[in-house]
């Protein structure tokens, strides 16, 4: 009859149980404990900082949105329930600020994502030396702080003899006071912000294009795909994580970090609040109205709307970056 052989034949004895060396075990356990705590210790500095300067203040903002207080330590704060929220939603400035925010976003998307993507795609494939030269030029506005950019452009936009007016004068456009006219001021700010992000965005999209690698195009060309097909079936999908990254930064970062200093230094939200977006509205409510409750309620409303826009962006970005690994 047939008998199955023992699979581990030839092995030495493993039947004796593992010995019981207590001291080694104890040392080991101590090691395991510190090993478990180690990553948290490395995380501590960053997380404490975020907790202290982002999440704790966020919780405070929520708390303050239900009180009336004037920021002075001597006066007590009084709970007022939802009154602040009712007040915020009826604020006349709110709608105008929201519209301005939308306008800025459209402008930043156009000048910070769409236009750079087009330029990068069109100019793709230059030699590395030429590329290095253009890169070093296009990067320059990243070095320029928003305040310096504001200074520089207020000079260019100056109503009397500014470069913009004199250049446009050559083609027959009458001079304007760009930053102090309610119709042109928001657009002027968009131009300045666009100047600051355009080159950087081109660099990022170009790098994304280089990253795609020629073998995909070669494979597609061998498969008989034409230029348009190669663009829609290879360039666009493989570039989408980069574009999404740009889009997210345009939505999340650019308006708060670049537009805000421009508004603050150039127009202070004027003329007649034409350049006030939600960010600036929150800031001025907090520091000029001395109504902490109202400002906090507005901040909460804005935070909720902002997070609702940003979470899907970040989620998509995370999913895409996983595709790439």
């Amino acid at each position: 009859m047939f008998v199955e052989v023992e699979p581990l034949r030839g092995d030495l004895d493993t039947s004796v149980p593992i010995s019981d060396d207590r001291s080694a075990l104890r040392a080991g356990r101590r090691h395991r404990l510190t090993a478990v705590a180690t990553p948290y210790m490395y995380l501590a500095p960053a997380l404490i900082c975020f907790a202290l300067w982002v999440y704790w203040p966020l919780a405070q903002t929520f708390r303050l949105s239900f009180v009336r207080w004037n920021l002075l330590p001597t006066t007590p704060s009084v709970g007022v329930g939802l009154a602040n929220y009712r007040h915020v939603l009826r604020l006349p400035q709110l709608q105008q600020a929201a519209e301005t925010t939308g306008l800025y976003m459209v402008g930043l998307l156009a000048l910070g994502v769409v236009l750079p993507a087009l330029i990068a795609v069109v100019t793709q494939g230059l030699g590395s030396r030429a590329q290095a030269f253009y890169r070093s030029v296009l990067f320059l506005p990243v070095l320029i702080s928003p305040v310096v950019a504001a200074t520089l452009w207020s000079f260019l936009f100056a109503p009397n003899g500014g470069a913009v007016n004199s250049i446009l004068g050559n083609v027959g456009v009458s001079p304007r006071n760009w930053l102090f006219d309610p119709t042109t001021a928001p657009l002027s700010l968009i131009v300045i912000a666009g100047w600051k992000v355009l080159g950087a965005s081109i660099l990022i999209v170009s790098a994304g294009l280089v990253n795609i690698g020629p073998e995909y195009y070669e494979a597609a060309a061998l498969d008989g795909a034409g230029r348009l097909r190669r663009f829609t079936e290879i360039t666009v999908p493989l570039l989408s994580p980069t574009l999404l990254f740009l889009l997210t930064t345009a939505v999340l970062v650019a308006e708060g970090q670049i537009m805000f200093p421009l508004i603050d230094t150039l127009t202070s939200g004027g003329p007649s609040r034409a350049t006030t977006d939600i960010y600036y509205l929150l800031y001025s409510l907090g520091f000029t109205s001395f109504d902490v409750g109202l400002a906090s309620a507005a901040a909460v409303v804005f935070f909720v709307a902002f997070a609702a826009t940003a979470v899907p962006c970040l989620g998509l970005l995370e999913r895409f970056s996983r595709y790439q690994d």
Binding site: P45, W53, P57, F139
Partner: protein
């Protein structure tokens, strides 16, 4: 009789013809250059204008001719209107403190995220990324109150402390560390190093160039920072960005001095950029690839 075997290097089949260059490529190359030159001019022209204006005479500030005889009056004005030594000291302190703090806290956090597996890892990563969901303007008031309670208002320390960690730095360094060869870390563990020594004796020396490039990007960011100084330290002698915004905010600004001041405030970064251009641009571009 001996016969020499045929040379194996000469193949009887004909070699394939060399590939031909496609026609019409030259035109598209020229078009590409044209587009980039146009964009480049658009980007550079305002900066050139700034530099030219800095050296014009105050009376001819708005003229369009080249300033053949450089005038230094604007620079002199700028130097007299702002407390430069104070501003520079504060700005340098802030930029170094903030950027080094962000680099260090980011390095430690990224090390934890990429070299360990631990409970709550995903959640804590979300906590880091989640900071992007909280715009600065939402938390201004509580931050102001907290800083005043800590007695940090109107001080450089007050500007530095809240900025000591950066989500951007954590994410970028996490990416770098994920690409770091894990066998190198294992080798160091076998060799008997603690995780702390591994970080400083193996990881950091090999990440050197990336760390330096990130440090420079963070330095540029901190140098140009406007929001935090705006709420913490609003006086004209705080940091360069605030000082310039003070000059700008008067109703009829002295553009000559203002432009000169703006140029001077950017000069250190430009010098840095001239020296380390390639590194800086590479680091910046890579941060967008993720």
């Amino acid at each position: 009789m001996f016969q020499v075997t045929p040379d194996p290097r000469t193949d009887s089949a004909n070699p394939p013809p060399p590939p031909r260059r496609g026609g019409g490529r030259r035109d598209t190359t020229i078009a590409r250059h044209a587009v980039l030159i146009a964009v480049g001019l658009l980007v550079v022209a305002p900066l050139v204008w700034l530099i030219l204006a800095m050296f014009r005479a105050p009376r001819t500030l708005f003229s369009e001719s080249l300033p053949f005889k450089p005038h230094l009056a604007n620079l002199a004005h700028a130097l007299s209107e702002l407390p430069w030594s104070q501003l520079l000291l504060h700005t340098v302190t802030m930029a170094i403190g903030v950027s080094l703090g962000q680099l260090l806290s980011g390095l430690l956090a990224a090390y934890a995220f990429s070299c360990w597996q631990f409970r709550g890892q995903r959640l804590l990563m979300l906590v880091v990324i989640g900071t992007w969901l909280v715009p600065f303007q939402v938390t201004i008031l509580p931050n102001y109150v907290l800083l005043s309670k800590l007695g940090l208002l109107n001080s450089v320390a007050g500007v530095i402390v809240p900025q000591l960690s950066s989500t951007f730095a954590v994410l970028l360094l996490r990416q770098h560390l994920k690409n770091f060869p894990s066998e190198l870390i294992e080798a160091a563990r076998i060799d008997g190093l603690s995780s702390w020594s591994i970080l400083w004796r193996v990881v950091v020396p090999n990440l050197g160039p990336s760390l330096a490039a990130l440090e420079i990007l963070l330095f540029i960011g901190a140098w140009n920072e406007y929001l935090w100084p705006l709420i913490v330290y609003r006086s004209p002698d705080s940091v360069l960005q605030v000082g310039i915004s003070h000059l700008l905010s008067v109703t009829d600004p002295d553009y000559g001095a203002l432009l000169a001041a703006a140029g001077l405030a950017t000069l250190p970064l430009l010098v840095l950029y001239l020296i380390l251009q390639r590194r800086i641009v590479d680091a910046f571009v890579r941060s967008g690839l993720r």
